[in-house]
């Protein structure tokens, strides 16, 4: 009797999981199966971001000028949202300098910008994966002779399944209205 109960409870416990993940859409960036390490050294699949719409960008922490502006741009979006909207979105900053951007360096960005731990992910891909992720997000970069980077800056909005819904290259403290509109629309409960 007991093993049967155990079996039944196992089935009950597993069932929601088995039905929770429909196949990924073919145009989802989460088709890319790579691991990310966050600012607390936790390793998780890029795919784990699935389930919540995300505002994603790429940067490197030793950058002095544009990269802090990228974080500010994300924060400007965050602040423009209502508390209810804010609780249904994530912000993910991925470094394209995995050699130097250790979890400690990423943690410093979180401290310096006072980024909410429940919403903001700071992540480091392994080696060559940074370029693959950048390719999917349409971000270009080149490492310079002195270790700095030459790069394009963009915020990319992903829906809960990882499809690119909107992007903006307008970086700064004032949110791009069109991009903010797309965020709001994505967060609006479907009719």
């Amino acid at each position: 009797m007991k093993p049967l109960l155990l079996l039944l409870s196992t089935i009950v416990a597993l069932t929601p999981v088995a039905f929770a993940a429909p196949p990924l859409p073919r145009d989802s960036v989460y088709q890319l199966d790579v691991q990310l390490t966050d600012d607390r050294s936790r390793v998780a699949s890029f795919r784990n971001l699935r389930g919540t719409p995300q505002v994603v960008s790429m940067l490197y922490t030793s950058c002095k000028f544009v990269c802090p502006m990228i974080v500010d741009s994300g924060k400007a979006i965050e602040q423009a949202l209502t508390p209810a909207e804010r609780s249904h979105i994530g912000f993910t900053m991925i470094t394209f300098d995995p050699k130097r951007d250790t979890p400690q360096m990423l943690a410093r960005v979180r401290r310096d910008h006072d980024l909410d731990a429940s919403r903001w992910t700071l992540a480091r891909p392994a080696g060559r994966d940074a370029r693959t992720i950048a390719g999917l997000l349409g971000i270009r970069y080149r490492e310079l002779a002195d270790g700095d980077f030459n790069h394009t800056s963009a915020l990319v909005l992903l829906d809960a399944d990882g499809r690119i819904v909107a992007r903006t290259e307008r970086i700064g403290g004032l949110p791009d209205p069109a991009f903010l509109g797309a965020v709001r629309k994505t967060l609006a409960p479907s009719p």
Binding site: D27, T132, R142, T152
Partner: protein, 258 residues
């Protein structure tokens, strides 16, 4: 007599194919090389390490064998983020080629991700831009023929040809001094660092908006008219996304020296 001739042909083909496999890569000795790209942060020539590069671009026939084995790269199952809608559309079906002519032509309409996966499956990778440029600077007799106006004219003549013409078979042109064929005159080719080629319109009259697109210095200048032929390629690669495919864009792989 006819029968005997046919027999000879049948016997010879497998031998040739096997030899082709062995001779698939040419060894490229490293050296100092001044890229035609003008980067603000790079002064003087760069050091290119030795490597091996495919003698000719990957063909449709070879790419079909790859997608047969790695079915996630068939055009009917590939994820849309890794290849656009015209991926491998030159084939009549996802798993069949039109004819033997097509099998021997360079594969085109391949995305960066698909090309990269092909090379990885063969223990290789896509060339870096500088590696490609290093080999492509050669002609039949010299390692660096770039100063020769005839070398440039020959390349520009290809650019002037309409792209609607059928592709020749891969490996039909004269090999360069390293024994590598078809770097010019057949198809454009992916490089591993295509997305590191950041091109600004013109460094001298940069608008603030354009300046803000890039973090820091180091933008690539496109105002070198002397090297127009090479910069055409860079302009093309710098405009592409990783899932893009075009009817003239193929690839070849490189590997470390064995």
């Amino acid at each position: 007599m006819r029968f005997a001739a046919a027999l000879v042909v049948v016997c010879v083909i497998p031998v040739v194919a096997a030899a082709e496999e062995d001779r698939g890569y040419a060894r490229i000795p490293g050296g100092e090389f001044a890229t035609s790209l003008r980067y603000e942060d790079v002064r003087g020539p760069s050091r290119v390490a030795s490597f091996e590069i495919m003698r000719r671009p990957v063909t449709n026939g070879e790419f079909l064998a790859f997608v047969d084995k790695h079915r996630q790269w068939r055009r009917d199952s590939v994820a849309a983020v890794f290849a656009d809608a015209s991926y491998l559309r030159q084939w009549p079906t996802p798993s069949r080629l039109a004819d033997r002519t097509q099998a021997s032509q360079p594969v085109t309409r391949v995305s960066y991700y698909a090309a990269s996966a092909y090379c990885a499956a063969h223990g290789a990778r896509l060339p870096l831009w500088i590696e490609w440029e290093y080999v492509a600077a050669a002609d039949e007799t010299r390692r660096d023929a770039r100063r020769d106006p005839r070398w440039r004219e020959r390349i520009l003549a290809w650019y002037a040809r309409p792209s609607s013409q059928a592709l020749p078979r891969a490996g039909a042109q004269a090999p360069n001094v390293y024994g590598v064929q078809d770097l010019h005159g057949v198809v454009w080719e992916w490089t591993d660092d295509y997305s590191a080629l950041l091109v600004t319109g013109d460094n001298r009259v940069q608008e603030n908006a354009e300046r803000n697109r890039f973090c820091g210095a180091g933008a690539l200048s496109m105002d070198d008219r002397e090297n127009y032929a090479v910069l055409m390629r860079v302009a093309m690669l710098s405009s592409l996304g990783g899932s893009d495919t075009t009817m003239n864009l193929g690839f070849r792989c490189v590997r470390e020296v064995r």
